[in-house]
Every structure is written in C-alpha cells, then in structure tokens.
Amino acid sequence: MRVLVTGLSTFWGGRVAQELERRPDVEVVVGVDTTDPRIPLERTEFVRTDSTYSILARIVAATQVDTVVHTHLIVDSTQASGRTLHEINVIGTMSLLAAAGASGSPVRKVVLKSSGLVYGASRADPYFFREEMTRTSAPTTNVERSLLEVEAFLRDFADDSPHVTVTLLRFTNVLGDDLDTPFALALRRPVVPEILGFDPRVQFVHQADVVGALMYATNNDVPGVYNVAADGNMPWSEVCTLVGKPRVPLSPWLTNIAAEPLRRLRLWDLPPEALQLLRFGRTMDNTRYQQAGFRYQYSNVATVEAFARGLRLAKTIGDKNPTYRYEREVEDFFRHSPAVIRND
C-alpha cells in the first residue's frame, strides 16, 4: 500500500501517518501540508505545498500512491479566514480529486474526513442524524457551506470513478488532550459558556476513535458515507460537571453578537456553528460504521471523562507533550544519509 496523507501537520493527518508507519504492508507514506509537521515521523516523506495543492497531480503521478487520506479540511471557522477556508477546503479538495481522478491515475481509494457540521443544528432537526438525512436549515457559516461543497465534489468523483473506493467520514466534535477543537478549548477555560435556558444534548468522539476510524477506512474497503461519533449523548451541563467547570450563561437572544466581544478578547473562541450546537445540540447515529465493522473504544461519557482526566493532569504538570520542531536537514540526514545505520 502506498498512501498519500493530506494535512500532515494537523492532528488527524499526523496521527494517521504515525499509524501507517507502523504497518509493514505500507510501503510509502507521503504527507503534504502547507506547514511543517508537528509530530515526529520516522519514514513519512513530507512535501510542502501551497494551500490549494496545485502540485498534487505531479506528486500522485511521481509516487504512484494507491490510497489518498484527505484530512486537510478546516472544520472550525476560528482557525482561518473565509478566503483561506475556501482555498483549503474547496479548492484543495478539487485539486486533490482532479489529481486522483486523472486518466492513468493509480489511486484506488480515497478517504475524506468531513464533519457533522454538514447537518447543521436547528430546532427542526431529527434527534439522531443518519447518513442519508440532510440538514433542515440553510447553512449560515462559511465552514458549513464549504464542507457541503466538498461533499458534493466527492459524490461526483465517486460517481465518475467507480473503480475507486470512496469513503466519507463525518466526525462529530472531537475531544482529546492533544488537539484544539472549539469545545476542547472552551472546556479548558476556567469557566465554560452556555446559552441561558438551553441545555442541549451534545455528543463527542474521542481522538483515539478518530484516528481509529480513519485507519479503519484506510485498511478496509468501506465505500460510502459514515457518521463517526461515540455512543450516546448527554446534556451540556453534565459535560461541564464531569469536567468540573462552572458555566456562565450567554444571552439566548442575539447570542452571536453577545459572543463577538468575547471572541475579540480571546476569552472564548466559539465560532457561530458551535453556538448553534450550544442551543440545539446534535446527535448522530453511529450504527452504520459499526455495522461496517468498526469498533469504538470510547463511549460518549468515557470520552468526556478521559478528557477531564487529561485536564486534571495538565493542571498539575502543565503541557506534557514535548514540543517537536521539524527540521528538514535533520530529518533528511536520518532518513537518507548513508552514514546512518538503519535496521530494516
């Protein structure tokens, strides 16, 4: 198996590359991103690209990868401006699929990491979203619009390329010690926001299950769309109790405007799509991926509990992850210099 991973410097891409490195049947791992990786990698080849992946066709042709894992999709609108988001999500995916679908392309599998944001959150929603359901409200944020476009591209690609196994994974909000999602960030603050009078049913997925889900689709042929979310849901108030943080209410009216000064002051990085979730919540039905054979390690409450434990540890010892800095010369030396004695 020869694998191309996009978004190598993101949590998802980096962890998937680490997992792939451990597998003996994976000959080559090529990672692309716009910035340097932030985790140590042993044999993954890193190529820096621009955000729209314009050189991807050349990389695919040169490396003859048969599997593409596309994790470089921004699902949090505080991470990028509207334009950057559009470039990375929409144009990036377009170039990627163009490269993968070119005539003579060796690609036989595409795994794409989308988000439950495509379902939106509104009062008319079903309480459990299944994969075939569509959102009940018009998308209001750039990130939601771009993800819907990306999914449409992928559907077209799947129709046009029947010989390629296309897997679309929709992840709910991820909680974990090692990554900063809007909810993880909010729960790390001394006080946690809520919308006055609302206590929605929320659902998370543990970071280990995120990596597991991406790896499962990479290792097995599971074409189709799948929700990835832990079993169960719980009220937001209970999440805060488990994490041990007091809640501060935001106004139920004009919430987005009320939240804007907080965003400016960097007190709470709550994007508008997260505010919608704090009002109506969202639960996704995760049975289809389990029927396809995937097993979750963490239930919803265990995800929150594990996150709470990580927070307690971090409170005492600070950030335990040693900061890794990618240096091309050093990496190249260890990987390619004849002076280095390699075991394999």
Partner: protein, 324 residues
C-alpha cells in the same frame, strides 16, 4: 467515583505515613481501562491500539454518568419531581378518572393519540401522569419543535419527556425502543379553537401518525378526553398579536378574564374523564418504503371518527362539567 478513589488513596497515605501508589487493580472495571490508556499514552507518547478488522475487539471504555438524562433529554428524576407536584392537581383538582385503562399495553411500543384542548393544554400532563403512575411506563410526548427554541421552558419540556414531533424521532421511540408515545394529531388547531367549538375534532393532520405506526409496526391507541375543553376555554383570539409574537395563536381565556395574569396558569377545576378506546392494529408489513396514501388517510379518518363518537357518548352521560 473518581472522587472516592482519590480520597481513599489520601486516607491510605495518612495511615501508612508514606507515599503509596494507588492500587490500580482495585479500581472497578471501566476505570482500569482508562488508567491503562493513560499509561500507554505516557510511555510512548502515542495513542494506543487502533482496532482492525479480524483482531479481537478492544475492551470498550465506558464511563459513569452524572445525571439520568436519557438520549432524548428526558430525566426520570425530573419526571418524579413533576409527578409529586402534579399529583394533587391530578387527584383533587381535575379528579381524573380512566375507563378501560387495561387497554394500554404493559410492554412494547404503542402510539397513543388523543383529542387536544385548552389554550395551554392540560390533557397531555394528565395522560402522561396517569400512565406513568399506574402503568409504571415512560411516556414520551411529541410536540411542535417550537418548544426546542424556547429558553428554560424548552429544557424543562425535554426533561419532562417532550420530544419534537419528527417522523424519525417517533419511529425510533416506537420501533427501536418500544416506548409509549403520545401525540395529538390535531395539533395547535385544536388547542387554539374557541369555546363554542368544543369537542368538535379537527382534521387529524395528514395522517402522519398512522404512517409512523404502520412503519414502526405498532398499534395506535386512541384516547377520548372529556374535561380539558372546560379547564381553560378560549373566549376570543387575536391573530394580529399572534403574528407579532410569532406564535400559533394568541388566546384570551376565560381564566384570564376571571383571574387576571394568574389565569395563564390557573385551570378551572373541570372533571376529567379519559376513555381508552380499543387499540387499532394495521395489517400491513412494517418498515415499508411507503404506504398507500388513501389507506393512511382512511385509517386516520376512521380513528378520528371513533374518538369523536366516544366523545359524544361520554358527553351524553356527563351531568356536570365540574362533577362529571
């Protein structure tokens, strides 16, 4: 539970007067997994095993909930509190009486449909309270998703067993979970009608409730409710005020005229009589892609007729609005 572990450890420390590692093996099931998880993470700085197909399943990590709010937002604790507060009203104010209560199933899913009345309908809590206290089964009440967007009220509504009326929600509750689900197919048309139209049933929607029951393979159990119409009768309505506030109707009730603002919550002590009608089974296969429109409409209309006739029958024997 976590707190218990920590304090236990501290106590042991005090006893032995020297640091001692917590005994991980003594921690019950789910915790062991979490602890082990953390240690693997520490040593390698990486995540632990990713489950592949073919490998025996990893132990699932469970956790301990802190509230009893279920996946639908209902809290049994909250329901118990509501039942305690509502019980005097049920017993002494409306003096609710049931006929043919034994027609309600003790197990399995069923869709309960009833006629709806009163500006702020008192029939839903009466039915839910009666079934929960006497049959000891949960009842989920389907209602307009407008409730979900109301601060505080919406949360209390959900904790009390309210679920937004979405076909998939109803199907899950009935088919997957085998619960009792209460629905008022007339909807806001019935609660917003004036006192002069009392006990005149409106159209039962588009028969959606029949289709859901068919799809879920459960019976429909109609209930005829007498008394709710007189508990909070609407004297007149203002459609302009309703439009301005964005609500289905803006009623002026007799209660408000008599009690002022208290009339918003104060019901008249009308006598409630609830008659459970024979369950309606549909001899069609469950889980079909679609069901015949005409069949659905026929069944819906037939159920509406039986409820209407039962109401007329009960009104014929009712001597007094207040004493039954």
């Amino acid at each position: 539970m976590l707190l218990g572990d920590d304090s236990g450890w501290l106590l042991r420390m005090a006893d032995a007067d020297r640091p001692k590692r917590p005994d991980i093996s003594a921690v019950p099931g789910p915790d062991v997994d979490l602890v082990a998880e953390a240690e693997v993470l520490d040593q390698k700085g990486q995540l632990v095993a990713v489950p592949w197909r073919g490998r025996p399943d990893e132990p699932r990590v469970q956790g301990v909930r802190r509230s009893d709010v279920d996946a639908w937002g209902r809290s049994e604790h909250m329901r118990a509190l509501t039942r305690r507060l509502y019980d005097p009203i049920y017993k002494h104010w409306h003096r609710v009486e049931w006929e043919h209560f034994d027609r309600l199933p003790t197990s399995g899913g069923a869709l309960i449909v009833a006629n709806h009345a009163g500006a702020i309908p008192p029939d839903a809590p009466a039915i839910m309270h009666g079934i929960e206290t006497e049959l000891h089964r949960k009842v989920y009440g389907l209602a307009e998703n407008l409730f979900r967007s109301l601060p505080v009220v919406g949360t209390l509504w959900a904790r009390g067993g309210g679920v937004a009326a979405h076909p998939d929600n109803a199907y899950r509750l009935l088919h997957d979970e085998g619960q009792l689900v209460l629905v008022f197919p007339e909807g806001a048309k019935a609660t917003g009608k004036r006192f002069t139209e009392r006990y005149q049933l409106h159209r039962f929607g588009r028969g959606g409730f029949v289709e859901i029951a068919m799809r879920a393979g459960v019976p429909v159990i109609p209930i005829a409710v007498v008394g709710a119409e007189e508990a909070m009768p609407i004297v007149f309505k203002s459609s302009r005020a309703a439009k301005m506030l964005g609500i289905p109707y803006f009623p002026v009730t007799a209660n408000m005229l008599m009690m002022g603002p208290l009339g918003l919550v104060g019901y008249f002590p009308s006598k409630f009589r609830l008659r459970v009608l024979p369950p309606v089974h549909f001899d069609v296969a469950a889980d079909q892609e679609r069901y015949s429109r005409s069949r659905v409409m026929d069944e819906s209309e037939r159920i509406r007729q039986t409820v209407q006739e039962a109401l007329y029958d009960m009104l014929r024997t009712r001597r007094s609005v207040w004493f039954g």
